[in-house]
């Protein structure tokens, strides 16, 4: 009785996993393409985490790079300076980053921070992290970075194996995401992303959900960060800066579609293709990121997945009823008075 719904809602996850698992079979000759594909998996996993944070609980964490960097630097330093074995080091680093994510979220929740303040605080945390890594040159080599060869589980030496391990992490993240969204908790998250106060009044413990989601997301993000450190063979602070991690992740999520299962994957694929095209132009990539972000947020805010879904629904309804579904007309000319009284009514005091 129970097995069927579980299986059917996991089908998209399995399908994605199988499709992506086939990639190394096709690109075996080209190490470069496999590298890009592996990086795509990491980006997608970051985006799953960010989707939980920003998409579902409206926590604008501009410190994805810090969480990943904590995983990376944490695991590397624990092996290099404390002599831990690599697996244990990764576990400890992930635990630390999870705690950090939960702590940041908890602080935001306790202080009742809105999107803006969470954004500023986490941005400040990002900059602190950068300066900390640069300043603690004795341990981190500053901007020079650390060569991680021989400090990890050896992903750099086995690119195909690395691909599958990271794919497993991505599939796990997607499965956890889908499991949560299919459960009662998914409904709660949906409610609180809509209106926190109403959610609270219907008995949803908003604080616990937010902190829990942040911890979960931070766990996955830092795990990928730690694996990245090993796989890349080298880490430096700029690899975990806002411009290198957070902005791409934001673009990926917007590109693919917030609050969707496959948005992060689709977004990562599209982003990777665009990135491969503009990368040869050096500094222009930054320009391209910026333009992409603006353009996406202006005209494409719902993302590919939502758009495809709606297109599919329209095709279906038009074949069934012979007519095209009515588009939703957004009321653009807002009324400041009503909006303000509205928000006043919503405010928690």
């Amino acid at each position: 009785m129970n097995a069927r719904p579980v299986l059917s809602h996991m089908l998209p996850v399995l399908g994605t996993g199988i499709a992506l698992a086939a990639v190394p079979l096709f690109v075996r000759e080209s190490g470069y393409v496999l590298r890009i594909a592996t990086f795509l998996l990491m980006l997608a996993t970051y985006a799953v985490g960010f989707n939980l944070l920003f998409g579902h609980t409206r926590q604008l964490f501009l410190c994805i790079g810090v969480l990943a960097g904590t995983g990376a630097y944490g695991s590397v330093l624990l092996v290099r300076n404390a002599g831990l074995n690599p697996v244990a080091a990764i576990a400890v680093a992930v635990a630390i980053a999870t705690g950090l994510g939960a702590f940041l979220s908890y602080v935001g929740v306790r202080r009742g921070f809105g999107v803006l303040f969470v954004g500023i605080v986490t941005l400040a945390v990002s900059l602190i992290f950068q300066n900390l890594v640069l300043g603690l040159r004795k341990y981190t080599n500053g901007e020079t970075g650390i060569v991680t060869q021989g400090l990890g589980v050896g992903l750099a030496e086995n690119p195909v194996q690395a691909y599958y391990i990271l794919l497993a992490v991505l599939v796990a993240a997607l499965a956890v995401y889908q499991e949560i969204m299919g459960s009662r908790h998914g409904l709660a998250l949906h409610a609180l992303s809509d209106d926190e106060v109403s959610a609270e009044l219907s008995g949803i413990d908003v604080a616990r959900y937010k902190v829990g989601v942040a911890a979960l997301a931070a766990g996955f993000i830092s795990l990928v960060g730690a694996l990245f450190a090993d796989w890349n063979g080298f880490i430096s602070p700029s690899l975990f800066s806002v411009g290198h991690v957070d902005i791409p992740v934001l673009i990926v999520l917007l590109l693919g579609g917030m609050r969707t299962l496959l948005g992060p994957v689709v977004g990562a694929i599209v982003f990777t293709i665009v990135d491969a095209i503009v990368r040869p132009f050096g500094q222009l990539t930054v320009l391209a990121y910026g333009v992409l972000l603006v353009a996406l947020f202006l005209v494409f805010r719902e993302g590919t997945v939502t758009l495809l879904q709606r297109g599919w629904e329209m095709v279906q309804s038009s074949t069934q009823r012979g007519q095209v579904g009515r588009g939703v007309a957004a009321d653009e000319d807002g009324d400041p008075l009503s909006q303000r009284t509205n928000s006043r009514a919503k405010s928690p005091y």
Binding site: R111, I120, Q283, V286, L293, G334, L337
Partner: protein
């Protein structure tokens, strides 16, 4: 002693930079993350004109006006969709749009003008003032900033437009009902914030140099000041600027850049945690 003066003057420069950001936020609930890039744009144009042999005064004025024009352009194009929304949605939309804009501009500047920098040299490097040696650059920047603030305060206190700005900050709906054209006042404010940012960039040219990659740093500095001073308070912004200028100069001198940055950011985070309305906020 000269460190203190340098710090205060740096504070004045920070105030030039952040007042615009505070204004724009207070008026429209929009945190302009492209603010630093607007400043850099003006500085670069001034630098390019200087290279082309124009007199410094002309080049700098053109740069400042260019900053204002860029801010005006951003308001008229990119921020339109943000203004048509309200509350948190407007905030997020504007945040991400201006973040994207800042990246686009930063990428463009560093790609197109990687080696252009604005440096303004004064005929003498330092003068003796009441027994203290003061850099002429500090005097120039201090004079520039103080004059600007005098004019700004006068404008806010005594002109109808200035009063309209203050009243929109308090109650946007009320201003609308009084017949204030909120949209136009907002556009004007963005233009004004651009001019001030351009002045800050010129000030940077007096101090040392202004490069094409300094936009992000400017934005962050303005953000720190705005948070510590309170995002809706002018006096707070001013005090916070002076304080942070002093802290920055003295700490850089004694303990180095990295720790200074960490300290500044830590102050920011602490402010948000302890007193989110701004450590030094006080209205009017």
């Amino acid at each position: 002693m000269s460190i203190v003066i340098d710090g205060l003057v740096l504070g004045l420069q920070l105030a030039l930079l952040s007042v615009g950001m505070v204004f724009v936020y207070g008026l429209g609930g929009i945190l302009n993350l492209a603010h630093g890039e607007v400043a850099v744009a003006g500085g670069l144009i001034a630098a390019l004109l200087l290279q082309g042999g124009r007199p410094p005064v002309v080049a700098c004025s053109a740069g400042v006006i260019a900053s204002g024009a860029l801010a005006w352009f951003i308001d008229r194009t990119l921020l339109r969709p943000a203004y048509s929304r309200h509350g948190e949605e407007r905030l997020i939309l504007a945040l991400i749009l201006t973040l994207g804009t800042s990246f686009a501009l930063d990428g463009f500047f560093t790609y197109r003008y990687p080696n252009v920098a604005l440096t303004l040299r004064l005929p003498t490097t330092s003068v003796d003032l009441f027994g203290i040696t003061v850099r002429t650059a500090s005097l120039a920047v201090g004079g520039l900033a103080l004059t600007t603030f005098g004019v700004l305060l006068g404008f806010l206190k005594s002109t109808m437009l200035g009063k309209a700005i203050r009243c929109i900050i308090q109650n946007e709906a009320g201003a609308l009902l009084c017949g204030v054209d909120v949209d136009r006042v907002r556009t004007f404010t963005l233009f004004l914030s651009g001019l001030l940012a351009g002045l800050a960039a010129i000030a940077q040219g007096f101090f040392s140099y202004l490069g094409p990659d300094m936009g992000a740093e400017f934005t962050i500095l303005a953000l720190i000041v705005a948070v510590v001073g309170g995002v809706r308070s002018l006096t707070g912004t001013f005090l916070a600027s002076l304080l942070l200028g002093l802290v920055n100069t003295t700490m850089s001198y004694w303990v180095g850049t990295y720790l200074t940055w960490i300290a500044l950011l830590a102050v920011t985070v602490t402010t948000l945690l302890v007193r989110p309305q701004g450590l030094l906020a006080y209205w009017p």
